[in-house]
C-alpha cells in the first residue's frame, strides 16, 4: 500500500516500528505501521489505551526519548511547493499570517524530507513550522508561571528571530482571536482560564507558525461534552480557514465518526483497519472495529443489551502469535493463531477500506467475508458462553 504517492500526499509513514527496551523484555509499541496523510485531511487514530496511538504520534514528530527507539520504517514529509505556498499566502488576507510563515529554504526547497533522518537543526525548523502537537492535558502543557501571551510570543521569538516585539504581540493577539479567546486575556495566567480556554490557548500556540500538520493527542478528553463540542467545532472551522491537516488521536470512536475524514484503528501496536468514516460506520470489516463500534450506547434507536469486546488488550511484551486480536476475537480460526495478517483491501466494493484480517483472505477463508449479522451472532455467542463460564 501507499507505494504510489499521490500529488496531495503530505505525510507518508511506511512500516514504522517503535520498541521500548525494558529489563523484563522489549515492548513492541508500534509494529510496521503505514499510513498516508493528505493535505487538509483529518486522520483519526483510535484504539484502547496501550494500543500505541500516542507512541506513533510521537515517533512521527520525533519526540520519543529512550527507552523508546524507532527500529524501522520511514516518515516522508512532502513540503508544499513554493508556488503553491505563495498562492495560499495571497488568499490569506492577513499579512501577519505571512509573517508567521516559515521561509521554505531551511529544509531544502520542496524535495520530500525523511523526518527520521533530520539533523537536530533541521528538526528544529521542521517542528512547529511544519508539524506541531496539541497535548492531552492543557493544564500540564502550559507553563503555570508564564502568562499566555508570553508563551505564544516565546515560540515566535525562537522560531522567527527576525520578528520584532510589536509584530510578535500583534501575531499573538491575532492567534487568540483566531481560536476565540478575547484579546484582553493576553496577560492572563493559565490558572485564570477555564479548561476550555486553556485548550484553546494550547491550540493557538500550535497554530503560531501556521504548520501544515497538527497532531492532537486526546485534545478533548479532560473536557466536558459541551466544551468538547465547542473545541471540535473550532478545530473544524480553523481547518477550513487555514487548511492544515490533523492527526487526531482519541479512544472515543464516536467522536471520530463525526470529525475525521479517514479513521485508522489500532490494536496492540498495529493498524487493523483504515477506512473513510462513512465506510467504517456503515460496514466495519475487522471484528475489533465492529466490537469498538458496538461498545458505546447511542442516544437514538432501540435500547438493547450491548456486548462490548470481551477480555482485555494484550501485554505488549508478549503479544499473541498470529493476529494479536485472536484471543478476543469471536470469529478466530486456525490461521489467525499462526499467520500475521497484512493490511490489505477488504472487498471489491470498498477497495479503499484496508483491513488486516484473514477473514478477507480468499485462500485462508474460503467461505468469503463475514456479514454484519455474522459479527453480531458470533459476538452474542461469545457473550453467552462467557456468562455460562461465570
Amino acid at each position: 500500500m501507499a507505494i504510489a504517492v499521490e500529488k496531495e500526499t503530505l505525510l507518508d509513514v511506511r512500516n514504522l516500528s517503535v520498541d521500548y527496551t525494558a529489563a523484563n523484555g522489549t515492548v513492541h509499541a508500534a509494529t510496521n505501521v503505514s499510513f498516508t496523510l493528505k493535505r487538509g485531511e483529518i486522520l483519526g487514530l483510535a484504539g484502547e489505551s496501550g494500543s500505541g496511538k500516542s507512541t506513533l504520534a510521537y515517533a512521527v514528530s520525533r519526540l520519543l526519548r529512550p527507552p523508546a527507539k524507532i527500529v524501522g520504517g520511514e516518515v516522508i514529509y512532502y513540503p508544499r511547493s513554493r508556488a503553491a505556498a505563495d498562492a495560499v499566502h495571497i488568499t490569506e488576507a492577513s499579512s501577519h499570517l505571512q509573517h508567521g510563515k516559515r521561509p521554505t529554504d531551511d529544509l531544502g526547497e520542496t524535495e520530500p524530507v525523511d523526518v527520521l533522518a533530520l539533523t537536530p537543526t533541521q528538526l528544529r525548523a521542521f517542528r512547529w513550522s511544519e508539524l506541531s502537537i496539541v497535548f492531552q492535558s492543557a493544564m500540564n502543557a502550559l507553563n503555570p508561571v508564564m502568562n499566555v501571551g508570553k508563551q505564544i510570543m516565546d515560540v515566535l521569538k525562537v522560531h522567527r528571530p527576525l520578528m520584532g516585539p510589536t509584530s510578535r504581540k500583534q501575531r499573538a493577539l491575532e492567534l487568540l482571536k483566531l481560536v476565540g479567546i478575547a484579546p484582553d486575556r493576553l496577560n492572563s495566567y493559565p490558572h485564570e482560564l477555564s479548561g476550555g480556554m486553556r485548550q484553546r490557548a494550547v491550540i493557538a500556540i500550535a497554530l503560531a507558525l501556521s504548520p501544515e500538520i497538527i497532531i492532537m493527542d486526546e485534545p478533548t478528553t479532560a473536557l466536558d461534552v459541551v466544551v468538547q463540542r465547542e473545541i471540535l467545532t473550532e478545530i473544524m472551522r480553523l481547518r477550513e480557514q487555514l487548511s492544515f491537516s490533523v492527526i487526531f488521536i482519541t479512544h472515543d470512536l464516536s467522536l471520530l465518526l463525526e470529525l475525521a475524514d479517514k479513521i485508522a484503528i489500532m490494536y496492540a501496536g498495529k493498524l487493523v483497519e483504515t477506512a473513510s468514516r462513512r465506510d467504517l460506520y456503515s460496514h466495519p470489516r475487522h471484528p475489533y472495529s465492529y466490537g469498538l463500534l458496538k461498545s458505546f450506547p447511542t442516544i437514538n434507536g432501540p435500547r438493547r443489551i450491548m456486548t462490548g469486546i470481551p477480555g482485555s488488550p494484550p501485554d505488549l511484551r508478549n503479544v499473541p502469535t498470529g493476529c494479536a486480536f485472536h484471543p478476543r476475537c469471536p470469529l478466530a480460526f486456525d490461521a489467525c493463531r499462526s499467520i500475521v495478517p497484512a493490511l490489505q483491501s477488504s472487498t471489491s466494493e470498498s477497495p479503499l477500506q484496508l483491513v488486516a484480517c484473514h477473514l478477507y483472505h480468499r485462500e485462508l477463508s474460503p467461505e468469503g467475508p463475514p456479514s454484519a449479522s455474522d459479527f453480531a451472532q458470533k459476538y452474542q455467542t461469545l457473550r453467552t458462553e462467557r456468562e455460562k463460564a461465570e
Partner: protein, 366 residues
C-alpha cells in the same frame, strides 16, 4: 438469536412502591474564608434545594457537566458531607447521624463507588485486605475462614475469575476494569441496599466500559440494589438507568423516565447537553458534521451564582423573569418534569416533591 433483534426493556418493570433512600430539599454550602475581615461571609452554593428518591432494583442517573454538583449530591447521600439544610430519609425514617456508630450503621446500607479506581484502592494492600476490611467492620465475617470465603464469593460476583488468584493481587497488578470491579466488590461487601456510583466508568477504556456497566446492571437485578448512577455521558445514562435527572450548577432542572428526558428534552440545558453529545447517526444522515451548539459558555461561578434560574446567562430562550426567581416544577406527564418558565411555573403542582411521589400524584391527577 442475533443481537440486533434482541432489545431489552429494563425500564418497563413496575416501579417499587416505597423509596429506600430519599432526599428532600437538600442544600449544601461550602463556606469560604472571608475575603475581608468584617466583609460578607462567602460560600460555594454547591447544591440548592434538591430532592430525589432511589428505589430498590431501580437505577437513577444524574447527568450534568463537571461543577454542576453531581458528586456533591452523591457525597451528601453517603453522608460524607453534612447537609446545610434538608433531610434524608432511609426507609421512610429521617436519617439523623450524630454518633460514629449510627454513621457506620448507615454506611452498611449505603455504599459509594468512586470514579477513579487507580486512586480509590490502596496500593500497598492486596485485594484480600480491601475486601476483608468492610466484611469485618460491618460484622459480616468473624473468622479468617469466613473472611476468605466471603471475599472469594464477592470476587466471583463481580466476575473476577479465578477468584483464588485475584485475592492475592495488589492493585498495580490489575487493569483499570479489574480495579473498578474490585472497588464494586468492596462496596458490595457491606451488603448495601443503595449503591452510589460516581462516574464508575469514565476512567475506563471504551471496550471495558460496557463490561462494567453490564456488571452493574446484573447486580442491580440480582441484589435488588437501588443505584444512583452519576455520569456526564448522556447516552450511557439512557442505556443504564430507568430514570434520569439533569443537574445544572447545583439545581435540578429536569427529570423523569430516561427515554422521555433524552428523546424529548424540554429544558434548554438538557437540549444543549444532548446536542453536544457525539452521535454518529446524525452525521451519516445528512453527511455534514458538527452542528453549531445552541448555547455557549461554561458553568458559572457558584460563589456568586446568577439569580433565579442559573442557566439564564447561557439560555437562548431567556426571559426577564428567569433572572428573578427559580421556576417551580412543571409536570409534563408520564413522570417527566422540568423547572423552566417555558413550560409554565408549576401550575399543576405547587409543592416540590421528590420525583417518584410526584409521578404518582400526577398520574392520579391525570
Amino acid at each position: 438469536m442475533s443481537v440486533a433483534n434482541q432489545s431489552v426493556q429494563p425500564h418497563e418493570h413496575t416501579r417499587p412502591e416505597e423509596a429506600i433512600l430519599e432526599a428532600k430539599h437538600v442544600r449544601k454550602l461550602f463556606p469560604l474564608r472571608q475575603a475581608r475581615l468584617f466583609g460578607p461571609a462567602r460560600a460555594v452554593h454547591a447544591v440548592e434545594d434538591t430532592s430525589l428518591a432511589l428505589y430498590p432494583g431501580h437505577a437513577t442517573a444524574l447527568v450534568g457537566e463537571s461543577g454542576s454538583g453531581k458528586t456533591t449530591v452523591a457525597r451528601l447521600l453517603a453522608r460524607m458531607y453534612d447537609l446545610t439544610s434538608g433531610t434524608l430519609y432511609f426507609r421512610g425514617n429521617p436519617v439523623d447521624l450524630k454518633s460514629g456508630t449510627s454513621l457506620r450503621a448507615y454506611r452498611r446500607h449505603v455504599q459509594l463507588v468512586f470514579q477513579d479506581p487507580f486512586s480509590s484502592l490502596n496500593p500497598v494492600h492486596t485485594v484480600r485486605y480491601h475486601l476483608s476490611r468492610p466484611l469485618r467492620v460491618h460484622g459480616h465475617a468473624h473468622t479468617q475462614v469466613e473472611e476468605t470465603e466471603q471475599a472469594l464469593a464477592l470476587l466471583r460476583k463481580v466476575s473476577l475469575s479465578p477468584a483464588e488468584q485475584f485475592i492475592e493481587k495488589f492493585p498495580h497488578q490489575l487493569s483499570g476494569g479489574q480495579r473498578q470491579r474490585v472497588a464494586i466488590a468492596r462496596a458490595l461487601a457491606a451488603q448495601p441496599e443503595v449503591l452510589l456510583a460516581d462516574e464508575p466508568v469514565s476512567m475506563l477504556d471504551v471496550s471495558i466500559r460496557l463490561d462494567v456497566l453490564n456488571l452493574l446492571l446484573r447486580l442491580k437485578e440480582e441484589e435488588d440494589l437501588a443505584i444512583l448512577f452519576i455520569t456526564h455521558d448522556i447516552a450511557s445514562a439512557r442505556y443504564f438507568a430507568e430514570d434520569t435527572l439533569v443537574m445544572y450548577a447545583g439545581q435540578m432542572v429536569e427529570g423523569g423516565p430516561s427515554d422521555a428526558v433524552i428523546q424529548q428534552p424540554k429544558h434548554p440545558y438538557t437540549q444543549l447537553l444532548i446536542s453536544a453529545a457525539p452521535d454518529p447517526d446524525r452525521v451519516t444522515a445528512d453527511g455534514k458534521s458538527l452542528t453549531e451548539l445552541p448555547a455557549r459558555g461554561e458553568i458559572p461561578s457558584l460563589i456568586t451564582p446568577p439569580n433565579g434560574c442559573r442557566f439564564h446567562p447561557r439560555c437562548p430562550f431567556v426571559m426577564p423573569i428567569c433572572s428573578e426567581r427559580f421556576p417551580k416544577r412543571t409536570e409534563l406527564g408520564g413522570g417527566h418534569w422540568t423547572n423552566c418558565f417555558l413550560y409554565g411555573d408549576g401550575d399543576t403542582n405547587t409543592e416540590q416533591k421528590p420525583v417518584r411521589s410526584l409521578t404518582k400524584s400526577s398520574s392520579g391527577l391525570l
